[in-house]
């Protein structure tokens, strides 16, 4: 699906990605009184990235809850709250602090519908900023989407633009199943775009063609879309036409969008900042070679974070995929 443009008549406002998630949260809370927000510092502080700013004032402490500093409790209590009829939107302060909650996520959140044979679906959203690029201390730059994508029962959504972020957080909240909603903190405030002021929902599981092309497909998501587009521009100047696909949902992957492009072009480069080993890029490469092998003119290339701990800030920029690395991978597929 090509990026939907906002209809001319619609009223819009210029928002950053962080603000767009904030708007989406507020509007869903207005629409549905069972939606509650909980996490560390989500109240008076408005979240360390201000994504929940203003919600406490608007909806009060019974719907916007500062929790004790305990991630397992945040997610575990959300299970009980969901059974009690609420739609909890949990904030985990950084992806690097989600590990204490993995037991609740893997052992319960992902399994409750199945375990109860449909009796207790859990409409829980777990939001978390992820990824590098802001030079913070250790553990604040992690990209662990692969863990969630590997876990049956979860959906994994990663927006890359304000407009998508607003529509996707709405869908995540309305979804009857648990959604891990990962927000690329590097681009929380990197740019603004016009976003419809009305509430709206975008489908989970649909990728977006950010830019059509003829010579190579670049598949990416989150903050890497920006890197992919920088590469695309540079390539354009070199006469190489790249198609850029924004996955938007990591599970379920929009396999058709990727395959259509792969079949059309025959060269695919996947970009993500998480480590390469057993990452999402591996799944895409595996699926593409499995289902479009005869269309492939070159192996699917991966441009990823190194298989190393995300470094402390002074070396951080050398860890993250760059447009140069993307271009190099593109050249490799072209030269194959």
């Amino acid at each position: 699906m090509v990026a939907k443009q906002t209809a001319a008549a619609e009223k819009t406002e210029k928002l950053t990605l962080a603000q767009a998630v904030n708007r989406g949260l507020a509007q869903e809370m207005e629409r549905d009184p069972s939606v509650i927000v909980m996490g560390e510092d989500v109240g008076a502080d408005g979240g360390v990235f201000r994504v929940t700013e203003g919600l406490l004032e608007k909806f009060g402490p019974n719907r916007v809850m500062d929790t004790p500093l305990a991630e397992s409790a945040i997610v575990g209590a959300a299970v009980g709250l969901a059974v009690a009829g609420f739609r909890p939107v949990c904030e985990i302060q950084f992806t690097g602090f989600v590990y204490p909650a993995l037991n609740q996520l893997f052992a319960h959140v992902a399994r409750y519908r199945n375990r109860s044979r449909g009796k207790y679906p859990l409409p829980i959203v777990v939001r978390m900023p992820y990824g590098g690029g802001i030079h913070p201390p250790e553990h604040h730059s992690e990209s662990y989407e692969a863990l969630f994508a590997h876990t049956p029962g979860l959906k994994v959504v990663i927006p890359s633009t304000p407009a998508d972020a607003k529509g996707l957080i709405a869908s995540a909240i309305r979804d009857e199943d648990p959604v891990i909603f990962m927000e690329p903190k590097r681009i929380y405030r990197a740019f603004r775009e016009e976003v419809s002021v009305e509430p709206y929902a975008l489908p989970i599981g649909e990728a977006k063609i950010v830019c059509e092309g003829r010579d190579v497909t670049i598949v990416a998501y989150g903050a890497m879309i920006k890197v992919a587009m920088e590469a695309q521009e540079m390539l354009e100047r070199q006469g190489v036409s790249a198609e850029v696909i924004d996955l938007r949902t990591i599970n379920p992957l929009d396999i058709n969008a990727v395959l259509r492009s792969a079949e059309k072009i025959g060269r695919v480069v996947v970009v993500h900042e998480a480590p390469r080993n057993v990452g999402v890029g591996a799944e895409i490469a595996a699926l593409v070679q499995e289902r479009a092998m005869l269309s492939l003119l070159a192996p699917v290339e991966r441009v990823c974070g190194f298989d190393a701990v995300f470094p402390f800030p002074r070396l951080e920029e050398h860890y993250l995929p760059t447009k140069e690395r993307v271009m190099e991978a593109v050249q490799k597929t072209l030269g194959f």
Binding site: N62, A70, A73, G80, A84, N114, S116, R117, K119
Partner: protein, 357 residues
């Protein structure tokens, strides 16, 4: 005063029946004869249900079974205090309270025979599915209790179950603390049966009791003799009253004893002495209550025979119903994962459907 006492706490333990079933009259709850014998019947029903499962397991007709033998007083003393609108968040050793709450025996058997359908509890039965990762369900109970509070309920509470071993997990702590902060409508009900598989309680913690932890969360707690159904009845009543009143959670520790192997996959003779078991056999909660009822002229051999016949008949009928159930379609493996099947589960479902033909 430069050295000040900033906190003082005492933890109480309640016993009513002694090991031979003699009651402390002053503490006896005011229960009708029917209520007294009702508690006994409930325990006998649980035991029969449990024994049958062990027998089925030996015959290869049941999966791994965790016996509740010895813990019937805990579960019965609690169960009769529960209201229909209360919620349970059970661990894997709560069969007794579960069948006392309207979950058909056949469903509990089905769960442990390895069939998810057992978990689809009847409409109106407020019980979460069995949770196996120890202590994890205490957080569900804390969240549920908060949810009930947010919904403005003023009767319903959530009961979270766990064992002594589970009390060492981080989730135990997070649940009690979370519940305390939000004054959630939650009873934390701990059956300390003194063993976590092969690990005895004194290796689980250096604390003398679990009940005393309550003070660390600013909530009340107490210990009760978990092999004394009258004491559990009184303690659970008091604890539930506290929670129902909206004053926040309560931690109730029932000190009891696991009379069987941990599960049918376990062999307790490897790690525990026969003496200990013999000691606790003399403190069997059912024998004790029967002795009390007999001495109170509320029970006799005739009633006992009739009861055993009745519960046996029920159990046999449930086993029959349970075993009559054909296995679920193999496609059930993928059919309950999401509200709508994603494309890959659609494909995988086709594999399952083809193979099962």
């Amino acid at each position: 005063m430069p050295v000040t006492i900033i906190h003082e706490a005492r933890t109480e333990r309640l016993e009513i029946l002694d090991k031979d079933g003699k009651a402390d009259e002053a503490l006896l709850p005011k229960l009708s004869s029917e209520e007294m014998t009702g508690l006994y019947k409930l325990m006998a029903r649980m035991r029969r249900f449990d024994e049958k499962a062990l027998a089925l397991q030996r015959q290869g007709r049941m999966g791994t079974w965790g016996s509740i033998r010895g813990q019937e007083a805990c579960q019965a003393g609690l169960a009769v205090n529960l209201l229909k609108e209360d919620w349970l968040a059970p661990s894997f050793r709560e069969h007794g309270v579960m069948i006392s709450r309207g979950i058909p025996m056949r469903q509990v058997y089905a769960i442990w025979r390895g069939d998810e359908r057992g978990h689809h509890f009847p409409e109106g039965v407020n019980c979460l599915p069995v949770s196996i990762p120890v202590a994890s369900q205490l957080l569900h109970a804390a969240g549920l209790g908060l949810g009930l509070k947010l919904r403005g309920e003023n009767r319903a509470v959530a009961v979270g179950f766990a064992g002594d071993g589970a009390s060492s997990e981080g989730d135990f702590h997070e649940a009690l603390n979370f519940g305390g902060v939000f004054k959630s409508r939650t009873l934390f009900f701990i059956q300390n049966n003194q063993w976590a598989i092969s690990v005895p309680f004194h290796k689980q913690t250096a604390a003398k009791t679990i009940a005393q932890r309550a003070h660390g969360y600013g909530i009340p707690g107490m210990q009760v003799d978990g092999n004394d159904v009258l004491a559990v009845y009184v303690a659970a009543k008091k604890a539930l009253e506290h929670v129902r009143s909206g004053d926040g959670p309560y931690l109730l520790e029932c000190l009891t004893y696991r009379m069987e192997n941990h599960t049918t996959a376990d062999d307790a003779t490897r790690y525990r002495l026969a003496d200990e078991l013999a000691y606790w056999k003399e403190r069997d909660p059912i024998d004790r209550m029967r002795a009390f009822l007999v001495s109170s002229k509320l029970w006799d051999d005739g009633k006992e025979r009739a009861l055993l016949e009745e519960v046996s008949a029920e159990v046999e009928a449930e086993v029959k119903a349970f075993e009559a159930q054909p296995p679920a379609p193999t496609t059930d493996i993928v059919d309950f994962m999401y509200k709508e099947r994603p494309w890959y589960l659609e494909e995988q479902r086709a594999v399952l459907a083809k193979e099962s033909r």
